[in-house]
Symmetry: C2
Subunit: 212 residues, 2 copies
């Protein structure tokens, strides 16, 4: 474990490089993450029209050049941002039920619906709606939405212990996620929390009975 011989290191191209590079990579990763989080917050608050790379860079405390090094285009930045936060949320959702949901489907339904009421959903909604009118954005957002949708479905099926070989089980779970998305939309302009809680409680019961 002695000191690295600089000459050997240069010869193999590893050790000294690595010593130099690791903190740089860390810094770079931290910058990237700050940009992604600022992008989601910006999209949620100001919508697509008010969200540019420059605005996000300033919010993240990163130079515009550094932001453009990570994300050459506006589309790159915002699709990456929604994807990043969606992945974080999926991880957090799985972490809520580390031993599985132990049959508490009501808790799972509530947690799934929560995915659609925060700043991530708001940001994704702005991106979807913008993509419906912007040719440059549409294919990327369509692809992203499909990927995130599949992953959310997979998590929901797992946590709800839904047996997808049973007729109707797959559509039951899909309809629940559609309902969750609709509840997110209903929450856009007003705080729909109290009504949402009652709807979620009722639909969780219907779901529980349907999934057996």
């Amino acid at each position: 474990m002695g000191a690295v011989n600089p000459v050997d290191a240069v010869a193999t191209g590893t050790a000294v490089d690595r010593v130099d590079r690791v903190p740089k990579q860390d810094r770079s990763r931290a910058t990237r993450q700050r940009l992604l989080e600022a992008a989601v917050a910006c999209l949620a608050e100001h919508g697509w029209a008010g969200s540019t790379v420059a605005v996000v860079a300033e919010r993240a405390g990163v130079s515009r050049g550094a932001a453009q090094h990570h994300f050459p285009t506006r589309e790159d930045l915002f699709t990456a941002a929604v994807e990043y936060v969606a992945e974080e949320r999926s991880t957090a959702l799985r972490a809520l039920f580390p031993q599985g949901a132990a049959g508490d489907r009501r808790a799972v339904v509530a947690a799934l619906v929560d995915l659609y009421t925060g700043p991530l959903f708001r940001a994704a909604l702005h991106l979807w709606v913008a993509a419906s009118n912007e040719d440059q954005l549409r294919p990327r957002v369509t692809e992203l939405e499909a990927r995130v949708g599949r992953e959310t479905h997979r998590i929901a099926v797992d946590l709800l212990a839904a047996d997808e070989t049973r007729p109707g089980a797959r559509e039951t779970v899909q309809g629940l996620l559609d309902m969750a998305r609709g509840l997110g939309l209903a929450n856009l302009l007003t705080d729909d929390g109290p009504r949402r809680e009652r709807v979620v409680a009722q639909w969780a019961d219907l779901l529980d009975a349907a999934l057996g």
Copy 2:
């Protein structure tokens, strides 16, 4: 019913005025209607950022002055447009089942979901999302959404013959309309028709059982 005596008419202030006014009112109503329909189409196709009174007036073949006579502000025009089309759709929905739905809840669920997949939903979605970031628009759209939502709920309860005195019945219907809204959103970027049909069939069955 002899000719109106002009002198009498002037004296009472009715007959001649009315003769003059009726076609003018008709023209005015037709102009207003053309503007409203053009506004919804414009919003659905180009989003809020691309929707101005001038663009709509041109699309409707109406002078900008005439458009501004009917709708002094952009907000007036677009909230009125979404409201007008929502009313038209409610009327059309009721007309689909003139004798009530005769217990065919699957047909009612399909018709309700259809409300959320056409240009009206797309236009309303653009308006909602714009309202979430625009202070001038937010209170009007919030109020409009609440009104349209109540009316849709009332129609759904009627057509589904849901007994709202039964515990959970109200929330069952609300959740269905939330699901329909979420299905509308899922249809924004891609044609989600085949998947939607399966989800609707499954949830119509669950709903039918739940409502008794």
